[in-house]
Structure formats: C-alpha cells, structure tokens
C-alpha cells in the first residue's frame, strides 16, 4: 500500500508540474517588462535544492516504519522536480523503487475494506458441534438451509391464509424476476434511453464534463423512480381480509377426459439390430379400480362372478391381461374390448334382478285365493259389460 501511495504521489506531482507550467510563464513576463524599462533585471530566485543523501535518508526512514515522513518526502520530490537538476537520478530511483518488494505489509488496511464490502459468515469455533450450530441457525433464521420441502410448506401456508390467492400470478411474478430486465414499461425505458443519448452527445461535444453528466443522469433516474413509485401508490393496495381462500389456479395438471383411470403395464425390450419385435413385448396388462366404474350392488356381484380371480378385493382392482396377438397395440385393443364387454355384461344384472323380483311378486299373488276370486269376478264383469251392446 505504501508503494502504491508513492506511485500515486509521483503521478500527482507530474500532473501538477504540467498544470503549473503556463502559470509560471505568465507570471514571469510582466516582471521582465518592468525591469527592462527601468533597470537591469535581477537573476531569477533560485529554489533551494535537496541532495540525494537527504532524500535517501527520508525514504529509508519511511520504509523502516515511520509514516510521518511521507509528506516531507512528497515535498522533497516536488522540489527536485522543480529544480530540474536530478531528472536522470530520479528516474533511476523510481525504477529501483518499482522493483523492490515490500516485506512488512499491514493486512489490516486491506481486510478492513474487504470486511466492509463482503459480509462473510461468522467463524465456527467448535467444529465438533456443527450439528448444534446448524440447528441454532435454523431456529433463529426461518430461511436458513432452504429446500424444496420448506419452500412447499411456505407456499402452502401462503395459500391457506390467502396471501397467495392465485398461484398462477405467483408463477408470473417468478418469471418476471427471472427476466427482470423486461419489467419496466416501454415508456420509462424510452425516456431513460433518450436522456442517456442526450447526455452522451453533450459529453462528446464537450459542453459537459463526464462527472456533471453522471450527476444529472443520477438525478434523472431518481426522478423516474419516484414517479414510478407514485404511480404504484395510486393503484389500490390488495386486501388480505379473507382467510383460507381456495386455490384459484386455472390450468391444472390433471389430464382431460372423463371416466375411470386405466393403468397400463407393458414391457419394452431393446435388442441389438433394427427389428424392434420381441416376444416379451407382446404382453399387455390393464388395471382399473372397480369403484370408478360406477356399478350398482347387483352389477358388482355379477362382475365378480364373471372375472373370478382377476379381481383383487384388497385393492379393489381388476386386472386384465392379454397376449393373444403378435403386436402390443393389438393386445391393448383386445384388453380394452374385453373391459367394455365385461362392463356391458355386468350391466345386465339390474334387468335380471327386476325381472326376478316381478316374477316373485306374481307368484305370490297367484298363490293368494282371495285375490284370484276378486280378479276372476272383475274379469267376468268386464266381459258381461262388453257383451250387452253387441
């Protein structure tokens, strides 16, 4: 760091020399005129010079650790530059200083800036207790060690309490964050671009210096941000009065269509060669939950009689297997056809039950003598009433 200071000092002295040269010339001319008109001019006042030994002693003391000598060193360098008698010697000295490395550099100067810029994590003293340290941090900070499960819990909690009313909107917000440079409306973008171009043109023409242009641009940006905030404040703030609002996500992941879910199991064997056919690929297995078929009690019993062992009572699952044809797709069609036939055949149970019940009632009525007498008399009466007009 001291070395960089020395380099900067020499650079600054060079700039000062360049800037002060015309002033020096201008200041000396009127004096010469005055002296010429009156009397002979005296010699130019000589600036006191500093010899090499003194400068070397100052530099050595600085390197040894005395930081108070630095301004005097700078004054010495300036004096030597102004005198102009030691240009070669000073050039050699600069080369020597540039090549010499510094042994004792105080790291505190660098570390202080680094710590201010980057806030690193605290050091853990006892690494054997890392688990407890992590648990403490998780208790203290809710968002420490975030993973998918935690994130899902937070989202679910937000949905439950109505903060995340529409997860579709949340997804849109996340997409906006992903492409944040497209967030601002086009009007503001155009305004900023126009202002930037104006300031750039003025800088190129020389009307403005870069520092002033930067200041103006900064002010303009602040004004734009304030204007945008005002616009946002004018809009109504969302209300969170409702609690446990259901999710209003429009497009769901469920596939379209109605009816029971058909679960297919097939096997695909990848064999060397171009021919994809393999005897193991033929078999197709179709599983369906019987509850989803919407059968009545009698239909269900008939179905169980039809399928026998293909029905698994524990899982309420009906499995149909087919390997009748040579190709898998043909077997899939065969499975589906079999399932439809089974459903149709089971559906006949209701009609059979109704017929059986009605025949049972008829038998019971026919066995009742009183009912039969009344029926007989009624039929006779109807017959007589029909015969009279004839």
């Amino acid at each position: 760091m001291r070395r960089t200071l020395l380099r900067n000092a020499t650079l600054y002295t060079r700039n000062l020399l360049h800037q002060s040269a015309p002033a020096f010339d201008a200041s000396t001319r009127p004096q010469l005129r005055l002296f010429c008109s009156n009397e002979t001019p005296p010699p130019v006042p000589q600036i006191d010079d500093v010899d090499n030994k003194e400068l070397k002693a100052q530099i050595e003391s600085y390197f040894k650790g005395d930081e108070q000598v630095l301004p005097s060193i700078m004054e010495t360098i300036l004096k030597r530059k102004l005198s102009g008698k030691h240009e070669d010697t000073d050039d050699e000295l600069m080369e020597e200083l540039r090549m010499r490395p510094l042994d004792d550099v105080d790291d505190r100067d660098f570390e202080s800036d680094f710590e201010n810029i980057h806030d690193t994590d605290e050091e853990i003293d006892d690494l054997y207790n890392a688990r407890d340290v992590v648990m403490k941090r998780m208790v203290k900070d809710e968002y420490f060690n975030m993973d998918d499960k935690k994130w899902d819990d937070i989202v679910e909690d937000g949905i439950k309490h109505g903060l995340l009313r529409d997860t579709k909107e949340c997804e849109e917000i996340l997409e906006d964050m992903l492409s944040w440079d497209k967030l601002l409306p086009d009007e503001i973008k155009q305004k900023v671009e126009v202002k930037f171009n104006e300031l750039g043109d003025m800088c190129e023409k020389g009307e403005l210096e870069p520092e002033e242009a930067y200041e103006q641009f900064k002010k303009f940006e602040d004004e734009i941000v304030a204007e945008y905030l005002d616009k946002m404040e004018k809009e109504e703030a969302p209300q969170f009065d409702d609690t446990t609002v259901p999710d209003k996500k429009k497009d769901l992941d469920d596939p379209p269509g109605e009816g029971p879910i058909l679960r297919w199991q097939t096997r695909v064997v990848f064999a060397p060669g171009g021919d994809a056919w393999h005897p193991k690929n033929r078999k197709v297995k179709l599983s369906v939950t019987v509850k989803e078929l919407g059968l009545s009690k009698y239909q269900f019993r008939r179905l169980r009689e039809l399928v026998g062992k293909r029905y698994h009572p524990g899982r309420d699952e009906l499995t149909i297997t087919s390997e009748r044809f040579e190709h898998r797709e043909e077997n899939r069609k065969d499975c589906l056809r079999t399932l439809l036939h089974l459903i149709e055949e089971a559906g006949k149970a209701n009609k059979l039950v109704d017929d059986a019940r009605s025949s049972y009632v008829k038998e019971r009525l026919r066995a009742n003598p009183a009912f039969m007498e009344r029926l007989h008399a009624k039929s006779m009466r109807l017959r007589e009433s029909n015969q009279v007009p004839a």
């Binding site: 009698y298 019993r301 008939r302 009689e305 039809l306 026998g308 009748r324 079999t338 036939h341 089974l342 055949e345 149970a349 059979l352 039950v353 017929d355 059986a356 019940r357 049972y360 038998e363 019971r364 066995a367």
Partner: protein, 102 residues
C-alpha cells in the same frame, strides 16, 4: 321356485348366464361333459417353421451336379456290398420279419 326366498332368487338371477358370458368374453372353450376335444391342438400356434429352423440349410442340395455325384457313389458302394454278400435282405427275410413269425 316359489318356495325359495327372494334373496336366493335374486342371487340366482344375478348369476344367470355367467358361465356362457365369461366364455364368450375371454374366449374360453366350454366343455361341460368333459369329452375329449382337439381344442388344445387348435389353440397352439403354428410352430413348424420354428422346428424346421433347428437344422441349418445345406448349400450342397442346391447344386444338382454334387447331388448326382453323391448318388452315383452310393449306387457303386451298394453294388460292391451286394457282390460281397453284404447287401440289404429280401422282403420277408429280415430280422424284423423273422421275429414276427415266432
């Protein structure tokens, strides 16, 4: 039938025609009397080609000259055996026929 209860009647009604329906849907072959039928053979897939693949194709059979030469050799060898009294026996004088006469 009238003597039975309603539940039994309903159960019988539900199970009416189940066996025939099952056979029709799943492609079964009904054989209530247990007679011997050729259904097992008819059900099998054609496997003649697969059996024939057991023996590789002999390229000599495609060349008539080679087959003629082999036939000529066979005939000459047979003639030599006959001259030495080692040819095939006449009909009715072989080992199998002699065994049958006993």
């Amino acid at each position: 039938m009238a003597s039975g209860s309603l539940k039994n009647m309903l159960s019988e009604a539900i199970n009416k025609g189940v066996v025939e329906s099952r056979a029709r849907i799943f492609g079964h072959q009904l054989n209530p009397t247990g007679q011997q039928t050729p259904h097992k053979l008819l059900r099998m897939k054609l496997f003649g080609e697969k059996v024939a693949q057991w023996y590789p194709h002999d390229i000599k059979k495609d060349d008539p000259l080679v087959m003629a030469r082999q036939e000529q050799e066979r005939l000459s060898k047979l003639e030599m055996l006959k001259r030495r009294g080692k040819g095939p026996p006449k009909k009715g004088q072989g080992r199998r026929a002699a065994k049958r006469n006993k």
